[in-house]
């Protein structure tokens, strides 16, 4: 079932590449249909998923040999964390594929790359084989490279190249760390479940530290954390809106997901030893991301930097959850659940924000906030969507971001009280920067040039409404999501 979920978008991509002379509309319909089909299969998996405490950690498991000589198998399976992330990715991909193209060139190739990226992203969250995880991790770079470079604007090629090289450096650090990790077990295996059970690095100081460093470095580039986040702003600014939404909503999660799945789960002892430095890096990202975002006058850059800030919260929660081997289970579980909810919430919220920003570019060709003002008069529906998304992003109670952040901070206070206290400053700054953004762009005087600014179309409006409805649903009734994610966090913390 999971294999099929990964395969369907890939086949869709292939079909779009091979089938001759499809029109724009047909190509989009095929792409939306394919990604919806894959999402429906995911819903079935979710329906069958057992969240009770005695259930196996990884469900819907399947495997097939690939390179048995090296212990590499095609292994797929999900736990509550990966299922939640896959579902979120599924939603976001449908939304971004359905969103109108910013510059409608070569639509077939555009939708094919999107489906390719969807297949790769879902695959990354679902595989339970380290090597194939790495394969998908790298492939996501390839897909993104072509999407940004081909359909971006401005110096898109430069941004795409920077993104590719920067994140490949990170992924090679991960590759070396993976090799270091699997070589410690005999016979060699890349099976994540076996490695989680074996904890092969327990008691190895220097080697364990270096391997952890490799993983953390690689995932930090992808997440991204301060100070290896510098590829992010140009990539986001040059990319078209839907691509930015996927980059922020799905690809960044690969970094934080990887951080939990691999170093946290497979080398708990080493991870606990170095949790404090990781928390400090997370704190730096929270503050740096927030402060730099505040200083941006470019709409998209501002949103891009808030990603650094939000991923900082996530990593802070992860570091707090992994800081101890035993003790404070309740708080650590809460921190981890919060971190995963933050990944889901950030995916949806920032996805919506980037789609809105893409709409700005499509209408006016600029992201400069000074060029806008008073849009509430001409585009009330767009304003409503932007206000909800911005409030969700700054953590207003009743919206998804709040559920995540409150859990992260409550959990972290039990482990790193000082860091959590300083981290709260980040929330204040984020609130300020979003309020100022809303004030400047949507309220005040409407510039002459913007009087013809069109409100969201029906298609754009329904996509945003669907995403934001989920954001509100998670905000006011988070139980269903928390149960799913909580089943994974209690298994991870308890094991």
């Amino acid at each position: 079932m999971l294999t099929l979920t990964i395969l369907i978008p890939m086949l869709g991509a292939l079909a779009l590449t091979v089938l001759p002379s499809l029109g724009h509309a047909t190509a989009r319909i095929i792409a939306v249909a394919t990604s919806t089909l894959s999402f429906l299969l995911l819903l079935i998996v979710w329906y069958q998923f057992d969240t009770s405490s005695g259930a196996p950690a990884f469900q819907a498991y399947a495997e097939a040999p690939w390179i048995p000589a090296l212990g590499v198998f095609w292994r797929v399976g999900v736990d509550g964390m990966s299922l939640a992330l896959s579902l979120m990715s599924g939603v976001l991909f449908i939304a971004c594929i359905a969103w109108p193209m910013e510059n409608p060139e070569r639509p077939r190739a555009y939708y094919a790359w999107f489906l390719f990226l969807e297949s790769v992203s879902l695959g990354l969250f679902m595989v339970l084989d380290l090597l194939i995880f790495y394969v998908f991790f790298d492939l996501s770079l390839v897909g993104m490279f072509f999407l940004i470079g081909r359909w971006g604007h401005g110096d898109a090629q430069g941004a795409a190249l920077k993104f590719f090289i920067y994140t490949l450096a990170g992924s090679l650090a991960i590759l070396l760390a993976i090799i270091g990790l699997v070589l410690t077990v005999d016979p060699i295996t890349f099976d994540m479940r076996a490695l989680i059970a074996a904890q092969p690095l327990a008691g190895m100081d220097l080697r364990g530290g270096l391997i952890l460093l490799g993983f953390v470095l690689g995932f930090a580039v992808k997440a991204p954390l301060f100070p290896v986040h510098t590829w992010l702003p140009p990539a986001h600014v040059m990319a078209p809106g839907p691509v930015s939404a996927i980059l922020a909503g799905v690809l960044l999660k690969m970094g934080t997901y990887g951080l939990v799945r691999i170093p946290f789960q497979m080398m708990r002892e080493t991870f606990a030893d170095y949790a404090l430095p990781l928390a400090i890096v997370a704190l730096a990202s929270i503050l740096w991301g927030a402060i730099v975002a505040l200083g941006q006058t470019d709409l998209k850059r501002r949103i891009a930097y808030t990603s650094v800030n939000h991923m900082g919260y996530t990593v802070l929660g992860i570091a707090a959850a992994g800081a101890l081997l035993n003790g404070a289970e309740g708080a650590r579980e809460m921190a981890l659940t919060g971190a995963v909810v933050e990944m889901v919430a950030h995916g949806l919220i920032t996805g919506a924000l980037f789609l809105i920003a893409g709409g700005f570019w499509a209408r006016s060709g600029t992201y400069d906030m000074d060029a806008y003002g008073g849009l509430a008069k001409v585009a009330p529906r767009l304003t409503a969507a932007a206000v909800i998304a911005a409030f969700a992003s700054l953590g207003l109670p009743g919206l998804a971001g709040f559920v995540a952040e409150v859990q992260i901070f409550v959990g972290t206070f039990a482990v790193f009280p000082v860091i959590a206290a300083i981290g709260l400053l980040g929330i204040l700054i984020t609130a300020a920067l979003f309020l100022r953004l809303l004030q400047q762009v949507f309220f005040g005087d409407l510039p002459k040039a913007r009087e013809g600014f069109a409100d969201v179309s029906l298609r754009e409006g329904s996509i945003l409404a669907a995403i934001l409805a989920l954001v509100i649903l998670i905000g006011i009734y988070p139980r269903w999501l928390l149960d799913l994610i909580g089943s994974a966090s209690s298994a991870i913390i308890g094991s």
Binding site: P68, F146, R150, A156, L172, L175
Partner: protein
């Protein structure tokens, strides 16, 4: 005399002679018939090589090694040569000496096969010389084109020096060890007799001579010129086929010395690091795609040396070596097939918008480059993975880190070309060569992706292989 043990090599010689005879008598328009003869000879040789599957022994009084390493290497050499032959008919159609080309190509392949199988220093010398002499001819085939002549001349001058060093080294080793057979040398070195600084010099000189064929530092300078100036089929051949033989020959030489003696392994590790770094840095701002592939091929030689470094230190070194050279050969040949199919266009500006005019060709170019970088799901990824694993396992983690840093750097110049092919606006029309090179492009692309999917059995086969004298 166990003549059957060299039956594949005999098949190649026979095919070479037949191709030459045919070329001498056939009219100009039928010269391509020699290509068919050559392909037939290669097919026979492949069958005969496969018949040696599972053999692990010396033959011909210890001068010729039959083992897994030489078997797979010779198979790769034959397949690689056949692939280059596909590129040739279109390229040389107007060349009056077209038919003879295949004879020289087959003899070059024979030299590479002999390098892979050499079990004796003198045999190795002969193999290197055969491979070199044919190589000069192949590089300078276009007699009236300055760049081709320059490539041939540089190759020849470098080669003359390298071969002289090789012979000096062999002489020193013979004098100090009293023997040229690998089995005897290995036995006496294992006892620790005859170790001396002079022997180290002898080894170092011999290794340099073979490193010349591999295109490794310090004998690498010919590679970019040959890649740029030689006819594209020759360039594809010379940057791949002799390297396969040389890699096995080097591995065999290094394996003679127990890892703890003579400080040979650190030396090779340093050469590996220097080779990959130099190759990648030099490729950085190349605006000529053939030179770019040439320099990248230098860098790849550095990666090959990683596996040689940890021979005997990690059990998987040999299978990693085989996996990597196979993946390198596939990626590089596919890239050259694209260049040949596009009539050898060299400026990377000529690749603007290739994806729009020729999407399939652009795809093959991109996957072959991704394979050379080592990005999944290409064969290059698996080759590099095996290489990194064995290097870390053998205790040379720093070398793996250097290689990883180099991989990142190499992405820069490959991505420059990929970006141009996909993002820039195309020229009016892009001229292409003949159908047979188009087929080669397709085969190359299929191998780059398909090879990775079906790599499981290849890894199993490589792991069962041995390298004499083991």
């Amino acid at each position: 005399m166990p003549i059957g043990d060299v039956s594949p090599e005999i098949a190649i010689i026979v095919a070479a002679v037949l191709a030459l005879l045919f070329a001498a008598f056939a009219p100009r328009r039928m010269q391509a018939g020699s290509a068919l003869i050559a392909l037939a000879g290669i097919a026979v040789a492949i069958v005969l090589v496969l018949g040696q599957l599972g053999e692990t022994r010396f033959t011909f009084s210890g001068t010729w090694a039959l083992d897994g390493a030489s078997l797979w290497a010779r198979l790769m050499i034959l397949l690689g040569t056949a692939f280059c032959i596909l590129l040739a008919p279109g390229w040389f159609r107007t060349d009056p000496r077209h038919g003879e080309y295949y004879t020289i190509l087959l003899l070059g392949a024979l030299g590479a096969m002999a390098m892979a199988g050499a079990g004796d220093l003198l045999q190795l010398t002969i193999a290197v010389l055969l491979s070199s002499v044919t190589g000069y001819t192949l590089a300078a085939w276009h007699r009236d084109w300055a760049l081709s002549i320059e490539a041939g001349m540089k190759y020849f001058l470098m080669g003359a020096l390298a071969n002289a060093l090789l012979i000096t080294g062999v002489t020193l080793m013979l004098g100090l060890l009293g023997n040229t057979g690998y089995a005897d040398i290995a036995a006496s070195l294992r006892l620790g007799t005859g170790l001396s600084p002079l022997l180290f010099v002898g080894f170092a000189l011999t290794l340099t001579g073979v490193a010349f064929k591999l295109g490794a530092v310090p004998a690498h300078a010919w590679l970019p010129d040959v890649a740029e100036g030689a006819p594209v089929p020759s360039a594809a051949f010379l940057t791949v086929v002799p390297k396969i033989g040389a890699a096995i020959a080097l591995a065999r030489l290094v394996q003679l010395v127990p890892p703890e003696f003579l400080g040979l392994r650190p030396l090779i590790a340093i050469l590996a690091a220097a080779t990959m770094t130099l190759g990648n840095l030099a490729a950085f701002w190349q605006d000529d795609i053939r030179r770019l592939i040439g320099w990248s091929s230098v860098a790849q030689a550095g990666y090959v040396l990683m596996a040689v470094t940890v021979l005997g230190l990690s059990p998987d070194a040999l299978s990693a070596l085989l996996a990597f050279i196979a993946s390198y050969a596939i990626g590089n040949l596919a890239a050259f097939a694209v260049v040949a199919y596009l009539r050898g266009r060299t400026a990377i500006a000529d690749y603007d918008g290739l994806a729009k005019r020729r999407p399939l060709v652009a795809t093959v170019l991109v996957v072959s480059f991704l394979s050379l970088v080592g990005i999944p799901p290409t064969v290059g990824f698996l080759g590099k993975l095996a290489l990194f694993m064995t290097t870390v396992d053998g205790g040379y983690t720093w070398l793996a880190v250097v290689a990883a840093a180099n991989t990142v750097a190499s992405l820069f110049y490959y991505a420059r070309v990929m970006g141009r092919a996909y993002f820039n606006a195309p020229p009016e029309e892009i001229a292409v060569l003949d159908r047979s090179s188009g087929v080669a492009v397709l085969i190359g692309g299929i191998f780059v992706i398909g090879g990775a999917v079906l790599a499981g059995s290849a890894f199993t086969a490589f792991q069962l292989s041995q390298l004499l004298p083991g």
